[in-house]
Amino acid sequence: MNKITTIRGFLDFIYSKDYAPVESQISLIYEGEITHQIMKAFTSMTETSLGKNEESSSVSKKVFSVMVECLQNIGKHADAENVIEPEIKRGIFLICKSEDNYNVITGNFIDHSKLEGLKHLLENINTLNKEGLKELYKNKIKVATISEKGGAGLGFIDIARKTGEKLIYDFIPVTENTSFFILKSTVSRNSLN
């Protein structure tokens, strides 16, 4: 098995775990540092390609917004495999299209110190329906403060709300102190929600 933190290993993982159908078309896959400029380039490329594919503006906007939140999450919060380069926010980003969906799948390191908090948040989000997510969002935005990293702590809730789908995720232990966090967000191409 190839290492999960490489593109080869990442693809092995997502196909073997059914994160994406093998016949889906990958329009973008990237491994490396995620900066604001890269986020802008990727979202702009994807908007152009969705426009060419004549996706509805509602689907395009949802894909755009999921991409922004996922890429900013990595760009702000990703940890490093080792502490030598803690400031460099690396990750894997993939977007693929199947007959019914766009899947945005990301992977990045997370320190084990943050693992339980993140698991708890994601589990909680996945138990909630549309109304529950709306309440959670409203309650959180009232008390949120913009962290030093520049986030409001609302990204995952927003993804769940905009897509109307459960978040699919895994944590693969890589070192004693870090795991690789894999997250799939699904935007239905027939989305009317």
Binding site: H36, S57, I141, T145
Partner: protein
């Protein structure tokens, strides 16, 4: 008061804050690289404005997209407008949204549920 006039790009909104001409508007997309740095002058301006606000303030939001970090700051701006309204000044928030954009419509609806200030949704 100084006028704030920011020309939007693909990641920052256009912002006009002009007390003398009664023009208060944010439009476009908001996903700045550093949300706190971008919005600080705007929030500071609002604080200063609230000390001697016009008898009537109509604030137009014509955003087509904002990320979650911006959504928190937009709430901060709305809360400052709510405070002006609580001081006995007339305040109206006009939330413009594209006809087919339910997410943007719903975002306006939620803000109107959180802040207690006259709120008008305008479809375009």
């Amino acid at each position: 008061m100084d006028i704030i006039n920011i020309i939007g790009t693909d990641d920052i909104p256009s912002v006009i804050l002009d007390a003398a001409n009664g023009k208060f508007e944010m439009s476009g997309r908001s996903l700045p690289e550093d949300v706190s740095a971008f919005y600080k002058p705007i929030l500071d301006w609002m604080d200063k404005y609230s000390e001697s606000a016009n008898p009537k303030t109509v604030f137009d939001f014509k955003l087509t997209y904002f990320n979650t970090a911006s959504s928190k700051i937009i709430l901060d701006i709305l809360m400052k407008l709510e405070a002006i309204s609580n001081d006995g000044k007339e305040v109206l928030i006009k939330w413009h949204f594209p006809a087919e954009d339910e997410d943007m419509e719903e975002a306006g609806e939620e803000y109107s549920e959180i802040v207690d200030v006259p709120f008008e949704k305008v479809k375009y």
